[in-house]
Point group: D2
Amino acid sequence: MGSLLIKNGKIVTATDLFDGDIYIVDEKIQTLGARLDLKADKTIDAKGCFVFPGGIDPHTHMELPFMGTSASDTFESGTLAGLYGGTTTIIDFAIQSQGKSLSEALTQWHEMAKGNAVGDYAFHMAVTDFNEKTKNEIKDVSERHGIKSYKVFMAYKGALMVDDRQILQLMEETKKFGGMVIAHCENGDLIDGLVAKNRTAGNLAPRYHVLTRPPIAEAEATGRFTDLAYSGEYESYVVHLTCEESLQRIRLATQRNQKVNVETCVQYLLLDESLYYKEGFEGSKWVMSPPLRKEKDREALWKGINQNLIHTVATDHCPFCMNQKEMGKNDFSKIPNGAPGIEHRMELMFSEGVEKNKISLNKFVDVTSTAAAKIFGLFPRKGTIAVGSDADLVIFDPKEEHTISAKTHHMNCDYSAYEGWKVKGKCKTTILRGTIAIENRKALVSKGFGKYLSR
Amino acid sequence: MGSLLIKNGKIVTATDLFDGDIYIVDEKIQTLGARLDLKADKTIDAKGCFVFPGGIDPHTHMELPFMGTSASDTFESGTLAGLYGGTTTIIDFAIQSQGKSLSEALTQWHEMAKGNAVGDYAFHMAVTDFNEKTKNEIKDVSERHGIKSYKVFMAYKGALMVDDRQILQLMEETKKFGGMVIAHCENGDLIDGLVAKNRTAGNLAPRYHVLTRPPIAEAEATGRFTDLAYSGEYESYVVHLTCEESLQRIRLATQRNQKVNVETCVQYLLLDESLYYKEGFEGSKWVMSPPLRKEKDREALWKGINQNLIHTVATDHCPFCMNQKEMGKNDFSKIPNGAPGIEHRMELMFSEGVEKNKISLNKFVDVTSTAAAKIFGLFPRKGTIAVGSDADLVIFDPKEEHTISAKTHHMNCDYSAYEGWKVKGKCKTTILRGTIAIENRKALVSKGFGKYLSR
Amino acid sequence: MGSLLIKNGKIVTATDLFDGDIYIVDEKIQTLGARLDLKADKTIDAKGCFVFPGGIDPHTHMELPFMGTSASDTFESGTLAGLYGGTTTIIDFAIQSQGKSLSEALTQWHEMAKGNAVGDYAFHMAVTDFNEKTKNEIKDVSERHGIKSYKVFMAYKGALMVDDRQILQLMEETKKFGGMVIAHCENGDLIDGLVAKNRTAGNLAPRYHVLTRPPIAEAEATGRFTDLAYSGEYESYVVHLTCEESLQRIRLATQRNQKVNVETCVQYLLLDESLYYKEGFEGSKWVMSPPLRKEKDREALWKGINQNLIHTVATDHCPFCMNQKEMGKNDFSKIPNGAPGIEHRMELMFSEGVEKNKISLNKFVDVTSTAAAKIFGLFPRKGTIAVGSDADLVIFDPKEEHTISAKTHHMNCDYSAYEGWKVKGKCKTTILRGTIAIENRKALVSKGFGKYLSR
Amino acid sequence: MGSLLIKNGKIVTATDLFDGDIYIVDEKIQTLGARLDLKADKTIDAKGCFVFPGGIDPHTHMELPFMGTSASDTFESGTLAGLYGGTTTIIDFAIQSQGKSLSEALTQWHEMAKGNAVGDYAFHMAVTDFNEKTKNEIKDVSERHGIKSYKVFMAYKGALMVDDRQILQLMEETKKFGGMVIAHCENGDLIDGLVAKNRTAGNLAPRYHVLTRPPIAEAEATGRFTDLAYSGEYESYVVHLTCEESLQRIRLATQRNQKVNVETCVQYLLLDESLYYKEGFEGSKWVMSPPLRKEKDREALWKGINQNLIHTVATDHCPFCMNQKEMGKNDFSKIPNGAPGIEHRMELMFSEGVEKNKISLNKFVDVTSTAAAKIFGLFPRKGTIAVGSDADLVIFDPKEEHTISAKTHHMNCDYSAYEGWKVKGKCKTTILRGTIAIENRKALVSKGFGKYLSR
């Protein structure tokens, strides 16, 4: 491969900020210094730019088969869009089908990703049917596939949901192999009841999606999941936490000195439920679970980040095109749940977070990259700018302004959740393992460049 | 029937305390006054005694078929024991069998009680299998049987436990008829997992009962139940709350201004888990669910009473003789759950609560009688000493000391949970609907005297 | 005096509600019964009416010398207005002047009240200068004057405020004599700073009164007062609590099982801060300390009552006529603090509380009468309808509608804080110690009828 | 000065951990890299050792005149002892005398430190008398002396304590110049009352020190200080927080999204109050304010660190020799408050924190160095290992075991608070601004080497 020298950047980690140069040999960072006097095969001048660790999105669903269709981004298109936006690594979910084995799911997901992904990727294992057979697979999943995080769904009864007994048994079994259970926390029974009642009442428009998934359904499940983890002193991770009520459950868990890792998504920080009330079917664009919440919740989440109660900001990237969304034209409960997001996570977090003084530069790096790497066992290979780490870097121009649009984005989705948003700050160059992946708005790498990350 | 005059008593209600006379005509209180100059068929001098409203025990299980045997007190022996101890009314549980109807259970319980009960009684309806058929019975249970309280079990999976969906549907349906859902709050899945693990490990002694039912299992279910009630703004009632962790969940519910009624039992106020560690099989005497807790929990419960977070003190009276308990000689999980208690609830609450300055005389009346009457729709017929109310009265000598023993108690159980406890204060005379039921330690009424209370 | 029979009333206490008659001999209730067949000097038919215990207002300031003027109601006019509205007893504040003795204050207040008060009255002793001399007076105040409650001000530095050391010493000394410290909780230093800053900035309109007394100032002092009481395990009482933040401090105190008694005032339940923004100087009518708060606070207070965190509803009656208010025409900080209220406390609590289903009838009686009597040592002489209690009664017609106006009220104040409010429910007849005080909107008693209540 | 190369270290920052070399030119870090191929004037092999950023102790009192004597370490001896233990920077307190000016205090402290300090130092300005004159000095203190942190004492009335008004005014004034108020949080009035009472009662032994400074006194003041800061949206910093109750106040502040920085000290993490009960006068060694607390508090503090509620670990280094302590031989209130600690802070935090898995290596660096640098404006000059930062480094051998003793320590104090403690991990080499300060247990720098850090 050779060497690459990035000069004059403002280098940012979760702790540091300094002016300097980065010298890369092959895939790794070899030297950090002031005015490095080294020869390199290629030199980039990062003057005026920040240099961030490549982003890690710990929650994506490429090609997810769901609700009778499939998410519209493949591992190729999705990870490439990620690279355009500075995200060099994703952690996707291999999801067991109820009645089938974990290994069948893994085979399927490895097949989807391998030779296709442009960016690096790891997997969480979603367990939807925990039984004696599943239990016996955990060792293999952990040791052979290098997977340490196991997801459960507390909603979607009959399809994905497991009961408390299964959650506890999974916690016990995975801990033996250094694993951790992570959860989608919504009370499925409570939601199913509300959905049934509203469908019966003829309430079928997209806005009934949010009206049937109230904060109490999420808060209850968040609290229950942390209680279950507490009962056996298990470390845990809550995915896509969205609201103040749920965050308060986390805070209560900390009062008993419990360690809970928490993720939110960029959309919960930036958008709110008023979008579901747009005319006609437009609200379907933001139909995702949990749904967008209120202004007060957004505020609570930003503060939660600064209080270290929320550790990672993901996307739950799971796009469906409008013709897919229209499966629920006449019934909100049939709208495929999910929205595109991976491409703009880092730019939005910079523009809305750092530029608007909601979070510091260091915290930006932490929530978009470092914390996910540490929690999920990718650190220090990924998630930082340090000697010996993978040279996954984003050269970021904080001054360049641009406007988000489906016309220009690279995700395979015919709408944007942020159409028309003006953003300050742009990923100019993305480097993955020492290779320039994106430069001058062009991709210099292609399908198959991405590597699977065994943990 | 005629008239009865009680003279010179210290009359106590949940608010008042005054010296006076009570004049009763037939079943009702007609006059309260200072030195009433009225003629009566019979006159009792209550000088030096308190006169309390007859006790109401809102949680008993007479003849309950459970774990392969039946509780050893019948409606006759159990309510008679209650009268000896000043409890004139019980609310027992008619329990649906999974797969059967509510009306079958009601028929069975009415048969057990009718013509047998000596004291007055009402029923809670325990719903263990909520489905379309059950739903259609609620109207009848409510309107024809006069039942307003519906119990669910969040533990005992496979036998009694219902899921969250059923709880919510039951809340919705019963509210239409002015009913309320009440719950046994323990997370069955969590407990079943611990029980299975301990049985596998050969941990079979009685003390594993408490070790497999930790406070977090109760607190989680208590919080979940209040969350479910909150989601639909339903009033609710938590039975036999035992520990600080659960009480804290109640306190949090009040912070969002939710109304939750809470019951504890006298044993949770007075006894603690050290009893499970007695030599041999003796700990089985206190095997009940939830189990006895720690000293700190007892303290929290007393304070919870004074903070009005806990409203009623019941017994969960469900006695099994030692030969029944021995079904679990070699496996704690097979020990029939339950203990005797109805006879000494009021005397113990007076002796340990009022005499030791933990609660006031008015609070004593409130938690042993008035609050239960108000919550369960028996007020003002029951639960107070007021003009027009049923003349259910206890003439109580605060100075008489006695010792609790299985040798002398009237419950059909060959041990006492409080063997050897010295008690200060004695129910001298119990009056039920104007009739002297107990006097000079003798019963003056017999089977069939008790009336069913439709609410 | 003779006998009085009240027939056919719906008699209400803090616990009970029953149809019955009340027979009074001289000053006391002698008999309660259904259809009492007794002869009386006078008989009143209360058909269709409630009969409540006479109201107790535990927080009034008759003739208070304050901010260069004096409250406009005398003990005569103020207690008479109280009787018109069903309040038969007040507890006023004898306030020490800094540098002077407690006994001087008591002499002054006894002189103001004695021979003038129409209704019954007791005193709290306000201690503004606690030192060795003051300390030596406590025994006398307690034993000779029968005063058990000692007020401190945590605001009004230089005039009334004491420091934490004085509060603690007062708690210690008064406890020896069965007394309790009660507090005006606002952080004087914080408020004085805001007042000074706003005056300097030329912010002089009435609305700056509320802007310079934020909830945090009250919450801080409320928390500090409860902390000080907790440090020595002293019982305590917080006067006129107004906001959610302060109530939360009380809730936290209960979590450590501390007993704190709490008072709010009717205006904090019914009015809000928008009144300060009325045109011109009109906002001055509601300039009182603490100020009116927000809608959310009103809601929290109503719920606090039902959660038993708030025990009494007083008025802090302290009226000033508009020409007095105008002392602060050009400077909000010079507007005499206070407003009229005693006359309509009970009718407003009934109309806005009971009629609108915010509180039950029993709770109405509790917060307007019973709780104050119990907390301040007047029970059972005052505060209930029971055999042997003073016959202080209100015959209340729940159907009569009327409109509050300064034109028709009996308080010596040329405006009403509730001008034009429509009220459902009217005190028809007020009876004080067996004597009809108010009937057919006429006073039948006059100055000097009120008695001092030594506790 | 020249260049220095540190090879083969395990370099640790608050985020990173990597194997590498550090190249220093003059006072600054110039390059970080794997196997740096650079020539240097001197090379150190750090194989097997960690390289940490030099420690920052944000709370020391060198030569403090206090309670009639002076702390026994001078800026020379104290900072040298710090260097032996890896602490390269201290922040000491220049303390205004009541009645005197800030500049007088600064002159005195600069005189004490300048030409004497061996390690680098900055000052906090302690304001004990805030008035118009003091107010006018803030600009100068901030801009000319480069001081951004202003301490207040909420205890020691009559000597150091200020009232709430002064605290608020100081917050307002200092914020104008980018400053922040930091506080010793104990309620002086509450403590003074307890001290007086105990002295009167003849309770004079050292253990009465802890008995007169209960957690509620600290918690109250901690809560009040955060309330005051909240009232004006001021950032703040709590020094030496010691107990669970106080930490809970901090947690409540975070619930309203307030930013509060919190410090604890190493002794509160490691020692407990049982030491005050040692025979005779030995307990005096640990007489400091606030006092040592209970086991549960220590646990809460460790967890508070991991929950990011506590940010820095200081020492409050303020040693007195035993003959000084003996001033309080017959009266605990006259024992000079303070203990030695600076020399072993880092080694103890490593040995008890990192080695015992209570905190991670990164967190160790954060609490001993990085966080203090960021909070107090010394970052990135101090507090990290990054290109361009001061080369303040500790080469730390994690395997070397040693025993703490007054016989071998370098602090000017004839006892150690940790006498006989076995420690795993040793600061082998300390480098300050590129100069080797300590090597082979010898000091290579001397008085006057330390620089004043204007912020």
